[in-house]
Amino acid sequence: MLASKDNNTQAEEVYEPNTARPADSVYKVDQLNLWYGQDQALKNIELEIPEQQVTAIIGPSGCGKSTFIKTLNRLTEMIPSVKTTGGIYYRNQDIFDKKYKVELLRTKVGMVFQNPNPFPKSIYENIVYGPKIHGIKDKKVLDEIVESSLKGAALWDEVKDDLKKNAFGLSGGQQQRLCIARCLAVEPDVLLMDEPTSALDPISTLKIEELVQDLKKNYSIIIVTHNMQQAGRISDNTAFFLNGEVVEYDRTDKIFSSPDDKRTEDYISGRFG
């Protein structure tokens, strides 16, 4: 499905993909199955996620979007009842391999959650949390990271005089951008975003969408969204999930203009979900 994207020139003008070099894939997902106890939440997922593009995951509530995105950084392991089969390869490394360090994976793959979850600390301390756990102690280096991360998340101008203030004093949209900045501080390769704007007002949502467009120059982004217009606006590729399966995965323009599967069409036209 995705293989055909390179000769789809018409869409390239509209969606501005990174044409500088051919898209390698950051993730290859192979026959992934996941169970919560007896309940299967993911069924035979097969996906390749290209680098430096925005890949959207859409689908109705409870179809496994969050579960899927959390397998990509192995955060599902926090739930004791979870069992997984199949393979996930991040830059050709098997992330389920016993020798593969999960801390390394999560350093390379940052995550932004549905509800902004800053730590109950100052803005500054929130940003330096990641660098500090990875051993950076030099105050000057940390200061630079704080500035560049906040700039990267389009938050610097709003908070540069309040770095010592508690992050809980920020608005919801600012908190979410702080969480993005906190990820950027670790210099990841991939950003996972699980419905990052669903708890935000329209203006904050717009800011985050613009930010995502900006970030894809340097990062590969996988974003779960409940909002189809959002997927249409910001993503290059879209995967439609239903009942734990990938019904269709293709270029976003293709999915939205002429989906192959009837169920995709029904969902996109708002007939269910």
């Binding site: 004791p80 390394l104 350093t107 979850n117 109950p120």
Partner: protein, 301 residues
């Protein structure tokens, strides 16, 4: 129903009509309110009577001498110095031991242990231990610390026994505090590549600390009033010297108070009441500190 409503219009009178059993419900409400108020009032009354009695008895002996003198055969000279210092020693040694063991156990159970038969066995036993009579802990302390480990009737033996006694309370309180740290904060930390320990040390413990400290202080304030286990391990009732180190013999306030009340002379009962006032003041102080910590570090998430 629906069909009927559409046909007949409802009159204003009908709209204002009371539900049939409203007055009965109001009556019941009043009766139960009365019962609960009476129950609360009764406990409060008992507490006031108790405090009044102790104060009227003990106030005459409550002076600086009481705290600066050793026990004596003469009631007017008798003081609680040895017991007061002994209690402080005992608490100062019990607090770190029970804190490290209790919080360590709680961290292990909440953050490291897999949920399996073994850990659920530990969990059940900890809850059960909280219900074991304190005399039994005294017996354990006597055989294990005093005799087997040859610590004698020392402060360290007493403190270890007390630590065992309050350990279950501390573990359970700390577990609750740790469990109430929001998962999304832990996820944020793990998602940045933090290890288990980094997440515990930098996210979980700071957020849980107020709850943990409160639980520890309340557990210690229980230990302050305990007599039985210390009598079992043979803490002395009459001491005319201050403990010097962990292996010194000692006595504590409740033992001293018990000793005075069991004497025939009326005056000693009054000295005992004065001692109780001091003990109550210590308890009140500790509980206030616990409440202060809880309010100061009120949940910020």
């Amino acid at each position: 129903m629906k069909a009927a409503r559409q046909e007949t219009t409802i009159t204003t009178e009908e709209r204002l009509q009371e539900p049939a059993n409203l007055s009965v419900r109001e009556w019941k409400n009043k009766i139960f309110k009365g019962i609960f108020t009476a129950a609360a009032g009764f406990s409060l009354l008992m507490l006031i009577v108790l405090i009044l009695r102790i104060f009227t008895q003990g106030i005459g002996y409550l002076d600086w001498n009481l705290i600066t003198s050793f026990a004596s055969r003469n009631p007017s000279d008798a003081g609680i110095l040895a017991a007061f210092v002994g209690t402080i020693w005992l608490m100062a040694v019990t607090a770190p031991i029970s804190f490290i063991l209790g919080v360590g156990t709680a961290i292990y159970l909440e953050e490291y242990a897999n949920k399996n038969r073994f850990t659920s066995l530990i969990q059940t036993n900890i809850s059960n231990l909280a219900g074991v009579p304190s005399v039994v802990f005294g017996l354990l302390g006597l055989t294990l610390f005093v005799r087997e480990l040859a610590m004698g009737r020392s402060i360290i033996a007493g403190a270890l026994t007390m630590s065992l006694l309050i350990l279950p309370i501390i573990v359970v309180a700390s577990q609750e505090a740790i469990r109430s740290v929001p998962t999304n904060l832990k996820e944020a930390s793990y998602a940045m590549g933090a290890t288990n320990w980094q997440t515990i040390y930098r996210v979980v413990l700071p957020a849980a600390l107020p709850g943990i400290l409160t639980g520890n202080i309340l557990a210690l304030s229980r230990a302050i009033g305990e007599t039985a286990p210390l009598i079992m391990i043979g803490a002395l009732t009459y001491i005319a010297f201050l403990p010097e180190n962990l292996l010194s013999q000692f006595t504590v306030m409740p033992i001293q108070i018990f000793n005075w009340t069991s004497r025939p002379q009326e005056e000693f009962h009054l000295v005992a009441a004065a001692g109780i006032i001091v003990l109550l003041a210590m308890l009140l102080l500790m509980n206030s500190i616990a409440v202060w910590i809880r309010n100061k570090f009120q949940r910020r998430f």
